[in-house]
Amino acid sequence: MIIHTQEPILEVHDLTVSYSRKPVLWGIDFTLPSGCIAGIVGPNGAGKSTLLKTIMGLIPPSSGFVKLFGHPLEEVRNRVSYVPQRESVDWDFPVSVLDVVLMGRYGKVGLLRNTGTRDRSIALDCLDKVGMSPFAKRQISQLSGGQQQRVFLARALAQEADIYFMDEPFAGVDAATEQAIIGLLREMAGTGKTIVVVHHDLQSARTYFDWIILLNMHLVAAGPTEQVFTEEMVQQAYGGRLSLLSQVGDVMEKRAFPSRES
């Protein structure tokens, strides 16, 4: 069940993504309205992070395209923010909390120029919003998992974007942080920002998100939570009736077959 929206802020059109010729996402096609908190939900290996990375232009798709605000990503980069998985970086890196948040300003500052006092006050503001201002001078290796996630969130806020893509922001964080983050996301959505979150917990997904994208190598369902997040749809996503799909993928990898002709 795929429910489309008029005037979408994000349009993913017929997206197929492959790793070494083996398709991991097949023909993903959905749209997203602005001002919602959307959850990308699905079992392990469903391709949730891959979808997010492809939208952010970090993985080239084999076919299909993505449009944000009706434009390709390149033209609207300044309005788009990305929060990678917490484990994707080396937390021993010699930078302070404030340094990391200031990185969110790099896109606005431009090449060869340094961040200024205005950027600094924005960064401190953002740290305040996630309750981390006392830690501004702290080195990042001294933070707990939840604190690291808050810092990443503050960095995203500092980008002052209109749409935010977050990869597993609730993975390995304490309950207090989880509540603080979801509260902040609701506040942001209230001011018209759009937030897309990769999430793996079915229980909380229902309460956290007002739009659900249910994924398992292909798109099972996409639409308002109350309409698409049904027992039947979840069963379909987690039921694993897709052995044929992965078998075909294996053959393509083995024979080094292109996922599209041409």
Binding site: Y82, V89, D90, V95, M103, L112, Q139
Partner: protein, 297 residues
Amino acid sequence: MIAFWIILTGALVAITCGLLGCFLILRKMSMVGDAISHAVLPGIVIAFLLSGSRETLPMLLGAGATGLLATFLIEYFHRRANLQTDAAIGVTFTFLFAIGIILISVFAGKVDLDQDCVLYGEIAYVPIDLWVTANGTILGPRPVYILAAVLLIVVLFIKLGYKELKLTSFDPAFASALGISTALWHYLLMAAVSLTTVSSFESVGAILVIAFLIGPPATAYLLTHELKHMLAITVVLGVFISFAGYWMAYWLNASIAGCMAVITGVCFAAAFGYQRARNMNKARMSEGLPPAGQAAG
């Protein structure tokens, strides 16, 4: 005066290598410097055969060409043939180095070079290689000018690209999401490392280049949590190592480059020991025990 020039040369190389080495170790690419510094051998032999002299420019060009060839081959085998990076590095630089030794053996009569100079360098001869202008004024050792120019380029590069180097090293995915090209900064850094290695090895040798690329940054990395401080400590360490290394070599009447490498190791060992002691004390305190030093009292 001889001591001054040698120490200055050592310090210039140590600072240039150290500044770039900070980013190399943070990007987990330390061994690329090792590969480049060995891979320059065939380049300088060919340059020597073609130009028939030990002029600096042809040597730099030859060394630079094989240095870049090495980085290209490593990248190519890794990407196109799916060879694991460490094996790609190991296979490539040993192949180029072997070619270099064979060339030297074949043209033994014509080439006034040996493999030793690549490994050890000839820092002791730096003060002799003077730059004399057309009207006979002596301006001091030529390598010092070249190394100073390279240092200037590297400092400018890091100053202008500090923000991008820092971000692409720390979080490449986020950098790409901001539209900063991680590949571009990777190749700029590699080019800077090649330039530095190539201009340094003639004076200090491949081994000391590796020691300077990794030693001072690794030591500084243990001592600080701030990238800017890490760079600053690396610079100070570089000067100290050059000074202490020369002094030790003078005292033992032994290889200057070797002594500088040993001092690098001593500095790291000291920092490592300090860090271990501090961590153990912290662990003791968190268990409610007094720090080790006070335990007896």
